[in-house]
């Protein structure tokens, strides 16, 4: 039983790390700011979700488990909101760091 749980956790965390890596690769490969935001929001959201799903069975108490889920929710929320704000600034061309 223990070994089964360990295997599942390992697979989930491994898959999560894979999606983080692909997201980062996307950051390098994709052609412009908007496409890169796609890679960041979606790949990282799934990557973090998988890592946290893999860690959940090992949480020492329910509080810690809740905290892990909460971390995922907050990162997701800030990721989606942040990417919207970045895309908006870039579209309107009024971001200070976008002067060319």
């Amino acid at each position: 039983m223990e070994i089964l749980l360990e295997t599942v956790s390992l697979l989930l965390v491994g898959a999560g790390a894979f999606f983080f890596a692909v997201g980062t690769l996307g950051l390098v490969r994709l052609p412009d700011l908007f496409c890169r935001l796609h890679a960041l929001t979606k790949a990282d959201n799934l990557g973090l979700g998988l890592v946290i799903a893999g860690l959940l069975p090992w949480a020492a108490d329910p509080f810690l488990a809740l905290k892990l889920v909460l971390i995922w929710l907050l990162v997701m929320l800030s990721g989606a909101t942040g990417s919207y704000l970045i895309a908006k600034r870039a579209l309107r061309g009024d971001g200070e760091d976008l002067l060319e």
Partner: protein, 162 residues
Amino acid sequence: MTIAWRLLGFCGLWLIFTGWNPGSWMIGVPSVLLATWAYGQLVGDSRAPSAARTLGFVLFFLRESVRAGVDVASRILRPRMRISPGFQTYRMRLADPSARVLFIDSISLLPGTLSADLVHREEIRVHALDATLDLAPELADLERRVGRLFGEELTKEKHGHV
């Protein structure tokens, strides 16, 4: 009454973040008060969705998150990336403030789409990794689900391009 629930909710969040350390409430109490106040300012008079509907949306959201991650990963990993990026405009019909925020945020986390701007309060500029597809049907479906979550029924026919 709702204020009491919000206070309780934020206290619970603080407890989850910091554990049982009593000293943490030095910062915790002002934070909870500030969060409760800010929440009241931002949320307006939105209705809170029911537990059953929330669960339904969460399941849908999880499924779509996996699809979105796999989709973007498969595009990135191909030797010649399969993308033709571009913008489309979608007219949002949701009126409830919380529903609108959830809709705009969800667009960015679901497959192939990213909400980039909101013009005239209802036109969302959506960036797509593959803009050759018509995004409207999928966005309308998401919008209906978000609307249902907040008790807002949207009719089928009105969606579409601007």
